[in-house]
Amino acid sequence: MDIFLEALLNIIDPVTLIYMVVGVGAGLMAGSIPGFTIAMAIVLTLPFTFSMPPAQGLATMISVLVGGLSGGLMSGILTGIPGTPSSVATTFDGFPMARAGEPGLALGIGVWSSFCGGIISAILLVLFAPQLAMVGLEFQPWDFFMLVMFALTVTASLAGEHLVKGLIAGAAGLLIRTVGEDDAVGVGRFDFGSDYLLTGFDFIAVLIGLFAFSQLLSDLRNPVTARNALSDRKQVKVKIEHRRAIGILLKNWVVVIRSALIGMFTGILPGAGGSIANILSYDQAKKAAKDDSKFGKGDPRGIIAPEASNNAVEGGALTPLMALGIPGDITAAIMLGALLMHDIVPGPTFIKDEPVLAYSIYIAFFLASFIMIGMQSGVLRVFVLVTRIKTYVLATVILTFATIGVFALHNSIEDIWTLFFFGILGFVMRQFGFPLAPMILGVVLGNIAELNLARALAIDADPMLFFVRPWSLFFAIVAVFSMIFPIYQKHRNTGSLLERLFSPLVLFSLSLPLFMMGGLLRTALAVAAIAISSTILWRRFGSQSKA
């Protein structure tokens, strides 16, 4: 109780509250402007939080995150252009509803769905993170190393057909982190006699360069669109209809909960974020509807599903971060950067060792959702003003802002050079179709992977332990199958051998480490996995041989 009170006092401190309000407002704005992503907003917030106490800094970043997740709906509903990839599906029904004369209702449904999704995922985060951390206490260095490899491969696999490019990006991210003095023994690596390289790249400057700078360059590439404003609307006379929206949400509570659960689960998976969750939950809402004829024409369920799920994603993404120290998506990876910046290394003992900070994160998550509701109407007016600013003006101001922010990290001009170099690299990678998410994860997790590899080999030099320890084997199997997954997706509905064998093979393979872990529950899960895979195999091959 004392811990909770201490955390609460941390968050309701007037200065922290002001930062949170500013953060939610900034997030709402960033989320609402197409081309300016939530990750970019969070990464740009990072330098500001450097001088703040950890709880205050994280509360500010969480506020930007919650605001950003909800901001995308404003642009999507009012202009038909999604503010962020996580609100793409919101436009399917939000924009038609707004055009049909109900923009206030569409916004109300979106805002309250976001709120509900955020609150549900915050509750699940409080419940699940400590449980997952207890599982994480079983992990040894071999298991952590494999967990990082799994996080990288699964993120790369999201590149679909471009899996190899995704894996190259992940490996490049890991390699970038090796430049400079080795953490363990202090030996310089790839410094080529340069003091700048010997100190290594500041990873926050790398993240801002890779993500924000390169994004701005992409937005400015076309000289015509760079001189355009997002919208030429002088004003929008919209009043958010809260009461009617709440009524509709109560009627469709099943859609709200299902979508929030989809978002939460998607967020827990490393690499998968709001951009996947909103489409997935929209699709599920449509499939589950008795009458789906109104979908795409302004059906409220088509707004509820994506908005509830994209806000729930972050509760999911923060769960493995807080429980295991492994981020669930790019934004959580940046949060990990914020924690590392304050010399806090999250892991299975994080919630136990830093309970006040953990509770501060929970409370900030809840509170930010309430602030978001309160600020939507006000920000709507500012949004209209911001959308009238020309892209090149906005981009130049943000670039200047990023430059000062990066300098403020260590009062070093070298960090601005890092921002510049990685801005170019990120932009070139985008142009050649390399996904940036695996690279960012590689940069953030590179040290953790190397540290655990060194620890594992210090305990026992046998490399086979990476493949015979239960959890390590579990992650290795999931990593391998995550790499095969894009090929499986390509062969879906073709009746190929891979399509028929993939899911039973996954289940059968995972049963092995589950058996090795022992205990009643895990043995039961292993037996169930074998039973299900056998049933699938029998259905797919047995029935054919009979025929």
């Binding site: 894996l167 590439r221 200047t400 601005i416 210090a458």
Partner: protein, 176 residues
């Protein structure tokens, strides 16, 4: 690029229906980079203490990167011809015209970084944002660009210097 030229020659001599494209060139660059970094990894000092050599982890990543780059190269060579021909070739003039905004941002930013120690962050940022705004937006709105540059850069300088108490660099020439 010599390796790309030689590979194209070999492909043509063998009468294969393949040709190098943009992806192949990127893959070749990555292979060469992996090779160069592998050589550089032998320059890493080996201390007498510690279990894991400081060069071991980077080498492991370089090997993985090299293997992936070879796979990428093979994939790009086997890519269907239609996919390769999708992007029309550009002359140098067209290339510069197409990328002019990006080239402008890179050049102005590099110049800004070079003069930053002499001009300081306040003057440097005002000049940088004003020049960039004018290059990207044209001369017509020059007054607006000046106001935005002064307002945004000056505002941020005040915020960081007086609110966040961050010491921003002063210029050796300007003293500001």
């Amino acid at each position: 690029m010599l390796p790309a030229y030689l590979l194209n020659k070999i492909i043509q001599q063998r009468g294969l229906n393949m040709s190098l494209n943009r992806d192949s060139l990127v893959a070749l660059c990555l292979i060469m980079l992996s090779g160069g970094l592998m050589l550089a990894s032998f320059e890493i000092r080996e201390p007498d203490y510690g279990v894991l050599s400081p060069a071991a982890w980077p080498r492991l990543i370089i090997i993985i990167l090299g293997v992936l780059s070879v796979i990428y190269l093979l994939q790009s060579i086997r890519m269907p011809k239609e996919a390769k021909d999708a992007a029309p070739r550009k002359s140098i003039g067209e290339f510069i015209l197409y990328w002019r905004n990006v080239i402008a941002v890179f050049s102005i930013f590099a110049l800004y970084l070079i003069v930053l120690p002499y001009l300081g962050m306040l003057i440097g940022n005002i000049l940088f944002s004003f020049i960039l705004l004018t290059v990207l937006g044209g001369w017509r709105a020059i007054l607006m660009h000046l106001l935005v540059a002064l307002g945004a850069s000056g505002g941020m300088w005040l915020l960081f210097t007086y609110v966040l108490e961050v010491f921003l660099p002063r210029g050796s020439l300007t003293g500001l």
